[in-house]
Symmetry: C2
Subunit: 360 residues, 2 copies
């Protein structure tokens, strides 16, 4: 069967890292007889430049029709001064919302060969393997009412943090499922001592827990979670939290690994009657406009995002593992892009990293 993949390279280093994924896909098509039907589209700044709109209806329709979407990165200083409503970020938020991608999986993984790249001491992060599950289509990112308005002559800016029971329940179920496939430990992060919205969150998570008696569930306040990630990150297996807290904690966790250029992510929707889910995969790193077009960016995070696509969208776990092992081996062999360069290693370009991965 043909697998329809929409590629959205986006801005900055997006297109060049995407090119390396394309090569991996070509290799897989040839050597593993996988039939990819690839289309390309615009998003973010690239789409603003072409259509004055960070996500057109056409691109969105293509995304809805695809079996999976692979995104590079969006944004850059060029579009920083655009009005709030048509910034590159809007395209990203809109595609998440319209595709119903409520479950954002952000692994924070320390590769053995790169443990030295972390600012944390080796014994604190060696072997680190956390899965952060961030709710992605609700909470304060999308809550109404929102805006800036005058009240009694004074301007107020406001946003609404809101979660319904079903919204919490579905992300909680994904989290427990995930924990069952891993070390069976789940930490739900909230601020239930201050925010009623997360009192409800905690209550629903507790209820869902009854269906997963094997999973050891704990709750942690978000401020403490930020501390514990720095103090002893290895205490965590799976963490689940709201959109906003997940944004902050997953970036904090990503930085613990010291190699942002290595981290993939997946955003998944609900399963339909056939068990298929809408899905979008993207590296955790941004568009890095300062190094764009120089062939020095690290393509591995995007390639690993593609591996997540194989695993979660196409049930090709073995092929995903093949790619993940190849990444480990390339690193063991001493190849490094500039962002993860270490003394004694061989500094290579984006292109050479892609080639070496394929040789592996």
């Amino acid at each position: 069967t043909t697998k329809k993949v929409l590629m959205l390279p986006g801005d900055g280093i997006g297109p060049e890292v995407m090119r390396q994924v394309q090569r991996v896909m070509d290799w897989m098509a040839k050597k593993r007889s996988v039939n990819f039907e690839i289309t390309e589209g615009l998003i973010g700044g690239a789409s603003i430049d072409a259509h004055k709109n960070p996500l057109t209806d056409e691109t969105l329709a293509d995304a809805m029709a695809a079996d999976a979407v692979l995104l590079g990165a969006v944004g850059g200083p060029k579009w920083d001064d655009m009005p709030f409503d048509i910034k590159p970020e809007r395209g990203l938020l809109k595609i998440r919302k319209e595709m119903g991608l409520f479950a954002n999986l952000r692994p924070a993984l320390v590769f053995d060969a790169l443990v030295g790249a972390s600012t944390l001491k080796e014994d604190v992060v060696k072997g680190l393997d956390i899965m952060i599950l961030r709710e992605l289509t609700g909470g304060i990112y999308f809550g109404q009412p929102r805006g800036i308005e005058e009240r009694d002559g004074v301007r107020h800016g406001f946003n609404t943090l809101v979660y319904s029971e079903p919204e919490v329940e579905r992300i909680a179920r994904v989290a427990f499922d995930m924990a069952m496939k891993r070390d069976k430990r789940l930490c739900s992060v909230d601020k239930a001592n201050v925010l009623e919205s997360t009192v409800l969150w905690r209550e629903v998570v507790e209820r869902v827990a009854k269906d997963f008696p094997e999973v050891e569930l704990s709750h942690m306040y978000v401020d403490n979670a930020a501390m514990q990630l720095v103090r002893n990150p290895k205490q965590f297996d799976v963490m689940v939290t709201t959109n906003m807290f997940g944004d902050i904690l997953s970036d904090c966790a990503a930085m613990l690994t010291g190699s942002l250029g290595m981290l993939p992510s997946a955003s998944l929707g609900a399963a339909d009657a056939n068990g298929a889910r809408k899905a979008l995969y993207e590296p955790v790193h941004g568009s890095a406009p300062d190094i764009a077009g120089q062939d020095i960016a690290n393509p591995l995070a995007t390639i690993l995002s593609f591996a997540m696509m194989l695993r979660y969208s196409f049930d090709m776990g073995d092929d995903a593992t093949l790619i993940e092992d190849a990444v480990q081996n390339v690193l063991k062999g001493g190849l490094r892009t500039a962002d993860i360069m270490q003394p004694g290693m061989a500094k290579v370009s984006t292109t050479v990293m892609g080639e070496s991965l394929i040789s592996e």
Copy 2:
């Protein structure tokens, strides 16, 4: 003149660390002829036990009448299952709000003698000295409407993040003033690419900046700020942010230092006609119920909070420095409470640490 200080020991280790401050105050009264008029009150769990209320009107009136308040810590498992409205935390939030303590100063400081206690590599944190300024009486902590209610048969939990221009302006002014007394660099943290409330925040900070041309102002999104704190915390001098983001980032920053038991904080109100501000000082660490009553807690964070009181409420900067230097010297001398114990050092009790400080 007499300085009226209200002591609120609170729960857990609160009372025992407070006792050591009391001794420092006695010493100062004698040796430096400062006239402290000390009253004591209940807050948090201790107040719930006595009055079924985490903050009574009497205690609040005492706090309003005092020149400064010193708080130990609140909360513990004993009160964890209390209803949301009468939990120990409610007392803390109420006293902040009623006293108008909108400016929360949270220094994250690495003491030379304790640099090894951090989970981060020595070169990343040695000499770290950040001041985080957290807005403390607004934002999502206090915004209306809030609650849990049924909408079309589905339960929703909701909170409101709201800031008015004057609220942002007054915290911004404190931040710029602070930056002027330090390295003249201010980083304002928001999520202006997603939240309109922080679009207004950024706009007001920009405007206030015009009155402080010497201060170098930067803006950072909160997810990136969490990353940058882990990647290279020394890039920051003063950071200013909202109540919720400040809660998370200041705890993250505190943990970078590796010695939570050492970190003080100050919460200040607006200056009145005489230039006096309502003020509350408290250690960053919690009530640590697991070690309460064992005389092993670290009293230094609370003693350093008292030093902040001398500096910010009583204009006694020299005496504050005297205490801060004594803390440095006690550490250099090799004394450690259990939480900061290192190989080759002398482990001492809460009481002995207090005594040694006074000898210094």
